[in-house]
Symmetry: C2
Subunit: 204 residues, 2 copies
Amino acid sequence: MMVPPPPVDHLGTAGARRRGEVLMRAIFAAALEQLRDVGWRRLTMEGVAACAQTGKAALYRRWASKEDLIVAAIENTLPEPPGVPDLGGIRAELLWLMDRIHSIMYSPPGCALRAIMTEIEHEHAKVFHELVQRMVFDPSRAATAQVLRRGIARGEVRPDADIELLTDIGPAMLMYRAKVCGGEVPREYPTRLVDEALMPMLRP
Amino acid sequence: MMVPPPPVDHLGTAGARRRGEVLMRAIFAAALEQLRDVGWRRLTMEGVAACAQTGKAALYRRWASKEDLIVAAIENTLPEPPGVPDLGGIRAELLWLMDRIHSIMYSPPGCALRAIMTEIEHEHAKVFHELVQRMVFDPSRAATAQVLRRGIARGEVRPDADIELLTDIGPAMLMYRAKVCGGEVPREYPTRLVDEALMPMLRP
């Protein structure tokens, strides 16, 4: 990911400072880029400021530490899994959702999160664990439960399905593939997961 | 787990040294106990030696570092998932296997491994990742594949089942439950996994 080019200067003067939203976006993009390039431990507020073409003070005014900055960068850039649209059938909706979770995993903030988790000191891991839980796992589970309930209403899913357990399968398998098997989870893995595991499991 | 009491002195003299197998077992037990009590970072060769009631030299003679010692302790105490006996039906065999994986997770070396993984420095994590892969994930997958193939031969499992994918579900769900949901994975979880996820997924 590239840092976005300097924004158009609204005042038409070369010296005008970027403010608000535009500056924040530049800082968040710079923070994720620095994470990717130098990793968590070697990341500094100075490095992010330089990469965002702003001053260190602009960062410290908003965030007391690099941890606070990175949490904000991830919170503000991680795409939220939205409610799954009614696509008329369970298979299409599960595919839509698993593809979505897969894209979030490989979005810049998703990659940044995984990089942090492999490198961060034990003492600082908790805040990022909670972030993943709140912004990735919880919404993924809620969206899967919504799809399963819709499937039960349509008669496509056995009505006694253990929804709580089954909503874990997608995220669990994607996490296991990424962490245990290593390497990138292939683009076609979500489809395989839906057709070989989830669909057979849900059949009435 | 307690360190075993000093072994009976075969020579009948109070000063005789414990040797070979007996001393090794005492050292491995002490290493796992120290890991549990003080954690990875604060674990020292001196601490393990004291806990095993032996000298530091007895440790350094065999292992150059605490990393080498702990790898040896885990390798030598982690129960291997053996081939699953033919129990006459897929459900019984899957239950047997998932229970077995669950017990290994909560055996002293299994607990030690999980404790290390949350605490160890990034640079040293690789050797333990490989250990888990080699001693837990690979044999679990092989045993599950064996059970599934037996099930196909018996006509209990649909013959087009994606064995490679399905063998990941047990370990993936157990890891996800332990890591993401936190707390101990309940004793009844393996049964739920078999009855609510695996069995429905495998039906012809």
